[in-house]
Amino acid sequence: MTLSPRRGGLIIALSILLSLLLTVLPLPEWVRIYRPQWYTLVLIYWTMATPQRVGVGIGWLTGIIVDVITGTLLGQHALALSLIAFITLKMHQRLRLFPLWQQSLTVLVLLLIEKLLQLWVMGAVGQPAPPLLFWAPPLVGMLLWPWLFIILRDLRRRFQVS
């Protein structure tokens, strides 16, 4: 399929939208705390693959949307996601060359940074310290990364998003 650059934007927007849906999808109580940070994973992928289109701005916007739909402090996710986008932007060329498992490890670090920023914000506004399982989602995210990467890469090649 040959597509105009506008259509590529549609694919990016749709994948981010889907990740937001997955974020608020109701899950049983015991799985809830393991829910990976879908929006961060998708954002990392697009920043890495198409750094000229997706960057800090899109990251910030996604973060604000996440804040509104999950009812957290306005700006909490925006801060974390714009920083993640910035770091990914800085190292996107290295990231692309990594083998998949090494990429997963890098993604784990990025996801942990996001969680750490969240923790700081929560501490600053006086929410109680979360349990140890607070750190579980990045691990789940790391395990999911190879699959997500392959799916999004195929999508990108199919629709020639660049």
Binding site: L21, V56, S82, L83
Partner: protein, 286 residues
């Protein structure tokens, strides 16, 4: 840049209330997201209602009739008691709540931040919901409305760690605060001295002192009291009577008595709630 903006946003959102309108506009735009996520659940509910068998419906109908009868019998007693109460209060020259208006709302099945105790309901400012409005379920107090937009509202549950609720012990009128713990089935009563008259099984009801919740609604039941001689305060835990984790419907309450009269009546009300509490009382807007 983005970092600075986010930090500024967070500070304003935490300390001031200017961003409420921004949030509500954004959440109207994002309402379809919540709607889509809720769709499977509401569709399955609708299906199970539409395709229910006749015998099951009859059974349910019979059961409801029985329940209605029982409730009506109790209602008779209540009417007489209320009239008597009003008369006695007339004698004492003090006013009492006239009554409450109630609207039933349904919970929207979306998951919010797992570390905050919040739910979303399907009634918003178009139904007259206002910020700080009390929300009940069939048994007891659930929480209060914190964010509203046109079609939905976010309710902060009483079990959230940033929520404190003025309560009194139903048995003897002892006033205190019930503070959320962040766990859905537990509240804390942190400011009771060791010699306070409180026991396991005591019923806590709203005292109405904060000016947000109407007085007299059940809140929680005391489940454990431990007094350590070395500690200045007793450790008292309570379990919310509302089924916070199971309920599907919530009731929004409008108190018909205007707020001002309540404050005129009890000028010490503000002092009473703030007195034993080192942190800001009432609830803080998130």
């Amino acid at each position: 840049m983005a970092v600075v903006v986010s930090l500024a946003l967070m500070v304003t959102d935490q300390r001031l209330h200017h961003l409420e309108s921004v949030r509500s506009v954004l959440s109207v735009v994002l309402y379809p997201l919540h709607f889509i996520v809720d769709l499977p659940q509401s569709a399955s509910l609708w299906l199970s209602e539409t395709l229910a068998s006749r015998s099951r419906l009859q059974e349910e109908n019979q059961q409801l009739k029985k329940e209605n009868l029982l409730l009506q019998v109790e209602q008779q007693k209540l009417a007489a008691l209320e009239a008597e109460n009003m008369r006695l209060r007339d004698l004492l020259d003090s006013s009492f709540k006239i009554g409450d208006r109630i609207l039933i709302a349904e919970l929207i099945a979306v998951d919010l931040d797992p570390y905050r105790q919040q739910v979303v309901i399907n009634k918003g400012s178009s139904s007259g919901v206002y910020e700080g409005q009390p929300v009940l379920d069939a048994n007891a107090v659930m929480g209060q409305v914190t964010h509203i937009n046109r079609f939905t509202a976010t309710v902060l549950l009483i079990s959230d760690a940033r929520h404190a609720l003025p309560v009194q012990v139903n048995r003897n009128g002892l006033r205190t605060l019930a503070v959320g713990t962040g766990r859905i089935n537990e509240l804390e009563l942190p400011h009771l001295p060791n010699n306070a008259d409180i026991e396991e099984g005591d019923l806590l009801v709203t005292s109405g002192l904060g000016g947000r919740f109407p007085p007299g609604y059940p809140v929680a039941e005391v489940i454990s009291v431990s007094r350590e001689p070395g500690q200045p305060f007793a450790r008292v835990d309570a379990r919310p009577m509302a089924h916070l984790e199971r309920t599907r419907e919530a009731m929004l309450v409008w108190t018909l008595q205007p707020l001002e009269t309540l404050e005129n009546l009890t000028p010490s009300a503000g002092a009473e709630t703030t007195e034993p509490h080192p942190e800001p009382t009432q609830e803080q807007q998130p």
